[in-house]
């Protein structure tokens, strides 16, 4: 069943599931399927699903590793949004530009550019050694509050933000994870 798991991995990567979480789920599935095979239980009975992408997406979503898709906007809302956008373009921009020229500043034009945001699901570091947690955090593009190297093997007993919470922040900014260590 490695092909099924590979497909799952591909889907998790596409959905932005952190590598550490994808590894954990893949290992769990692989071990369970191997044991089921020894018992003569079919993979279909364990998986209950023949589509690996759908299976992987459902699992990750239920674990809270993927943000729920936003509700679809109605067509009416779309037209209103387009109308507001056009008004902003034809009326708002020249007005802002004039204000910018008058005050000798161009920063107002920059403020109209959409801010790009990053979304990351915070991994569960609890139970890990401090240095291992720090490495996984870096893989997820998070920063960990510094701790002395001598505490590399200390165990994480609490963390902020909490595990599996979904964080969004502007590109270029950073989120710092605070780890409470013991040992």
């Amino acid at each position: 069943m490695p092909a099924f798991i590979e497909e799952c991995r591909y889907e998790w990567k596409r959905l932005g599931v952190p590598n550490s979480m994808a590894d954990e789920m893949a290992a769990e599935l692989e071990a369970d399927l191997a044991e089921a095979e020894v018992d003569g239980v079919s993979a279909a009975e364990i998986l209950g699903e023949s589509d690996p992408r759908r299976f992987a997406a459902t699992w990750a979503t239920e674990r809270g590793l993927v943000a729920e898709p936003p509700p679809k906007k109605s067509r009416k809302g779309l037209w209103i949004g387009l109308g507001v956008g056009l008004v902003l373009v034809f009326v708002g921009l020249p007005a802002f530009a004039l204000i910018g020229v008058g005050s000798g500043s161009v920063s107002t034009v920059n403020s109209l550019q959409p801010q790009r945001v990053r979304s990351v699901v915070i991994p569960n570091f609890i139970g890990m050694k401090a240095c291992h947690a720090s490495r996984i955090a870096r893989e997820s593009l998070l920063k960990v509050r510094r701790f002395p190297k001598s505490r590399c093997n200390a165990i994480v007993v609490a963390q902020r933000p909490t595990p599996h919470s979904l964080l969004q922040w502007p590109r270029g900014a950073h989120t710092i994870v605070k780890l409470q260590l013991r040992g």
Partner: protein
Amino acid sequence: MQRMASESRRSQMLRGVLDLCLLAVVIDEPAYGYEMTRRLRERGLSTVGEGSIYPLLGRLEREGLVATHRAASDGGPPRKYYRASASGKRALTEGVRAWNDVRDEVDSVLATSELEVP
């Protein structure tokens, strides 16, 4: 066709209580995913219908109804073990009560109908 409809109904009925069944099999002793499937089978639930237990376990974990830890298994790779947390035990107690109420109500409705199979 009739068999498919029957399986689909069974699957739909199970969907509402499978989380309780999973909690029930890890309330006393932790288990990893496949071990839970095995315990369900030992208690008479041979198939869990459409879908799988993994997404459901994911939801239970996210909601804090199960706690997890990794531990070595007998001769095999380390496994992820699940056990019912304190809130999971409370949810199970409430869920079993709700299930019993619904089952009794449905039983009393269905018992009044006379079934004739041609």
